[in-house]
C-alpha cells in the first residue's frame, strides 16, 4: 500500500543555517506517528515545509501519491492536510464557534450573491455549518464555550480549539505541533484519549511533535528523532527511548 505521506530527501536552509537535512519519512494511513528532537532541531520547520509555508531547498513531498511541493498553503489544506501551531494562532477576537466555522469555509458553496441576499440555500448551508461546528466543539469538550470570544479562553482550551479548527477542514492527515504544551497532567491525559479518538472516529492520520514523553510513548506507533535537522534514530517507542544517541541529544553535552 502506498503511504499517505511520503517525504524524500527533504532539506531546507535559512540563509546559511541548515534547519533540515535529508529528511525521509513515510506515514501509512490511519497511523499515529511522532517526531521528537531537542529545541531548535528543525521539527516545526518540517511541518512548515509540508504545509507549504516555506519552499524546501530540496526534496520531494508526496501526499496520496501527488507531489505537493511548491503548492500554496491553502491548496495543500484543500488536499487534506491540516495543522495546529506550536505558538497558538487562534482567531482571537472571534467566538470559538466562528473559529471553527471559518475552517469550514472551503466546503461551503453559497455564492456571494446567495450570501448577500441570504437565500434559502444559503441559510440551510449555514445551519449545517453551525451544527457541525457545534459537534466539533462538543467532541473537544468546548460546547459551553461556543459563543465566547476565543482570546478569553484558558490555554488548554485554546489548544483543543485549534485541534477542532484543524479537524473542521476535514483533513486526512493532521499535523499537531506540540499539542500538549502548557497543559496540566489531567489535560494531557484527556488529550491523549482525544487524539486516539480522532484517529478512530474521523479516520484521520496523525503526525505529531511532542516533548511530553508520556504522550509520545503512550500513543505513537512509530517515532522519528531528529537533531540539528538530521535523523538520529527512528523506530518503535520502546526502542527509541533507550537509544543512546537519543539520550545524548536530549541530555547530552550541549546543555540546553
Amino acid at each position: 500500500m502506498t503511504p499517505l505521506l511520503k517525504i524524500e530527501h527533504l532539506t531546507h536552509f535559512f540563509g546559511g543555517l541548515r534547519a533540515v537535512y535529508d529528511f525521509n519519512f513515510e506515514i501509512p494511513e490511519g497511523s499515529i506517528y511522532g517526531l521528537i528532537g531537542p529545541n531548535g532541531s528543525g521539527k516545526t520547520t518540517i511541518f512548515n515545509l509540508i504545509t507549504g509555508i516555506y519552499d524546501p531547498t530540496e526534496g520531494a513531498i508526496n501526499f496520496q501519491g501527488e507531489n505537493i511541493k511548491g503548492m500554496k498553503s491553502f491548496r495543500i489544506v484543500h488536499k487534506g492536510i491540516a495543522r495546529t501551531f506550536q505558538n497558538l494562532r487562534i482567531f482571537g477576537n472571534l467566538s470559538a464557534i466562528d473559529n471553527i466555522r471559518i475552517a469550514r469555509h472551503y466546503t461551503t458553496t453559497s455564492s456571494l450573491f446567495a450570501s448577500i441576499l441570504r437565500l434559502p440555500s444559503f441559510k440551510s448551508e449555514e445551519r449545517a455549518v453551525k451544527r457541525e461546528a457545534l459537534e466539533l466543539l462538543d467532541l473537544m469538550h468546548l460546547s459551553n464555550r461556543a459563543m465566547e470570544t476565543a482570546k478569553n479562553l484558558p490555554y488548554g482550551e485554546l489548544r483543543r480549539l485549534e485541534i477542532a479548527r484543524a479537524l473542521a477542514t476535514k483533513p486526512k492527515l493532521i499535523l499537531l505541533d506540540e499539542p500538549a504544551a502548557g497543559m496540566n497532567p489531567k489535560e494531557v491525559d484527556d488529550l491523549m484519549r482525544l487524539i486516539s479518538r480522532i484517529r478512530d472516529e474521523f479516520k484521520v492520520t496523525v503526525f505529531l511533535i511532542e516533548h511530553h514523553m508520556q504522550v509520545i510513548m503512550g500513543i505513537c506507533e512509530w517515532i522519528k528523532v531528529i537533531d540539528f535537522g538530521e535523523t538520529i534514530a527512528e523506530g518503535l517507542p520502546d526502542k527509541v527511548k533507550n537509544d543512546p544517541r537519543v539520550l545524548e541529544a536530549y541530555l547530552g553535552k550541549r546543555g540546553t
Binding site: 484543500h78 477576537n93 472571534l94 472551503y106
Partner: protein
C-alpha cells in the same frame, strides 16, 4: 409573531426616514440640517466600506477617497457632460442612478487593480501604497482638462436627495453586514485575525483581500457619485489624502471592525465638523480675532491622536448593535 425575527435594521431605517421627512415637511428641520444629514449618510457609506477593508479584512488603506473620486468623476461626467441630464425632467432619474452605479463599477475595477500590489504588503507599506494610488488618481483628475482640470467638474445637476442617499446607505450597510455574516465575510475576518492561520484553514487569502478591496472601492465610488450630485461639484482636492484621513478617523472613532461604530461616528463627526465650522466662525465674528477654519482640522487631528493614545478600541470596539445584526440562523 416572533419579535426576535423582525428585520430590525429595516424598521429602524424606515422610522428614521419618516421622522426626518416629517420634521422637514413641518419645517422644524431646515434645508441646511437636511444637507448635513445627507452628508452624514454619504459618510456612512464611506466609513462602512473602508471598514470592510481596514476593519474586517485587516488591511490598511489610506486612499479611500481616491475611489470616491473615481465614482464622482465618472458619474459626474456621464450625467453632466455626456448625457446632459436635467433635474427638471423626471425621466432623468433612472439614467442618473445608472450613472452612479457605473461610477461604482469603475471604482471597483480600480480597487480590484489596487488589490493586487496590496497582496504582498502589510501595515505601513500598504498604507503608503494606497496613499500613493490615491494621489495618482487625484493627479490625473487635476490634469484632465475635459473634466475641468484643477478647477474641477462644475455644474453637476443636483440629483442626490435624502431618499436616494438613505436607500444607498441602507443597502451598503445591509450588503456589507450580510457579507460579514457569511462564509465569505468570515474568511475576510480570519485574514485580519491571523493571515497565516487563515491560509491554513483553507482560506484563499489572495482572493479575499482583492475582494474586500473591490467591494470597498465599489461603495466608495457610489458615495463619491452621490456626493458630486449633492454638492454639484467634483474637485480634485475633495478626494485627496486628508479627506481619506477624515474617513479613517471615523472608523477608528467608531471602532475598527464595527459597522455600528462607523455609522455612529459618521453622523457624530459630520455634525461635529459642521458645528466646529459654525462655532469657529461665530467666535471669530464675536471676538473680531483672526480665528481661522484650520482650527477645525486641529481638533480633528487631536481627536485622532487622543483615540489612539487613550481609547484604541473607539466607541464600540468590535461590537455590533443588535439592531444591525441579522438574526442568527438556527
Amino acid at each position: 409573531m416572533n419579535v426576535r425575527k423582525l428585520p430590525r435594521f429595516l424598521i429602524a431605517v424606515v422610522l428614521f426616514y419618516i421622522v426626518v421627512e416629517v420634521l422637514y415637511r413641518t419645517e422644524i428641520l431646515n434645508g441646511y440640517l437636511l444637507h448635513i444629514i445627507n452628508l452624514s449618510l454619504i459618510y456612512v457609506i464611506l466609513a462602512t466600506s473602508l471598514n470592510l477593508i481596514n476593519g474586517i479584512t485587516g488591511q490598511f488603506s489610506l486612499g479611500h477617497m481616491g475611489f470616491a473620486g473615481v465614482g464622482a468623476y465618472v458619474s459626474g461626467s456621464l450625467t453632466t457632460l455626456i448625457l446632459k441630464l436635467s433635474v427638471t425632467n423626471p425621466a432623468s432619474m433612472l439614467p442618473f442612478l445608472l450613472s452612479i452605479i457605473a461610477g461604482g463599477v469603475v471604482a471597483a475595477f480600480v480597487g480590484f487593480l489596487i488589490g493586487f500590489p496590496s497582496l504582498r504588503l502589510k501595515g505601513d507599506y500598504l498604507a503608503i501604497v494606497t496613499l500613493g494610488f490615491g494621489e495618482i488618481i487625484r493627479t490625473i483628475f487635476n490634469n484632465i482638462d475635459a473634466v475641468g482640470g484643477p478647477r474641477g467638474l462644475l455644474g453637476i445637476p443636483k440629483f442626490s436627495n435624502f431618499t436616494v442617499i438613505l436607500v444607498a446607505a441602507f443597502l451598503t450597510v445591509v450588503i456589507i453586514r450580510n457579507l460579514i455574516e457569511s462564509s465569505h465575510g468570515r474568511a475576510m475576518l480570519s485574514i485580519r485575525e491571523n493571515e497565516l492561520a487563515a491560509e491554513l484553514v483553507c482560506v484563499n487569502t489572495t482572493r479575499y483581500k482583492v475582494m474586500a478591496s473591490t467591494f470597498g472601492a465599489f461603495f466608495a465610488g457610489i458615495a463619491g457619485g452621490l456626493l458630486a450630485h449633492l454638492i454639484q461639484l467634483a474637485h480634485p482636492t475633495q478626494f485627496g489624502f486628508i479627506k481619506s484621513v477624515e474617513v479613517l478617523i471615523m472608523i477608528y472613532a467608531g471602532g475598527v471592525g464595527s459597522l455600528t461604530g462607523s455609522i455612529l461616528a459618521a453622523f457624530g463627526l459630520t455634525f461635529l465638523s459642521e458645528g466646529l465650522r459654525l462655532g469657529i466662525r461665530a467666535l471669530a465674528d464675536a471676538t473680531g480675532l483672526p480665528i481661522g477654519g484650520e482650527w477645525r482640522m486641529v481638533v480633528y487631528a487631536l481627536l485622532l491622536i487622543f483615540i489612539m493614545l487613550f481609547r484604541n478600541e473607539g466607541l464600540m470596539g468590535m461590537r455590533e448593535s443588535r439592531i444591525i445584526k441579522n438574526v442568527e440562523v438556527d
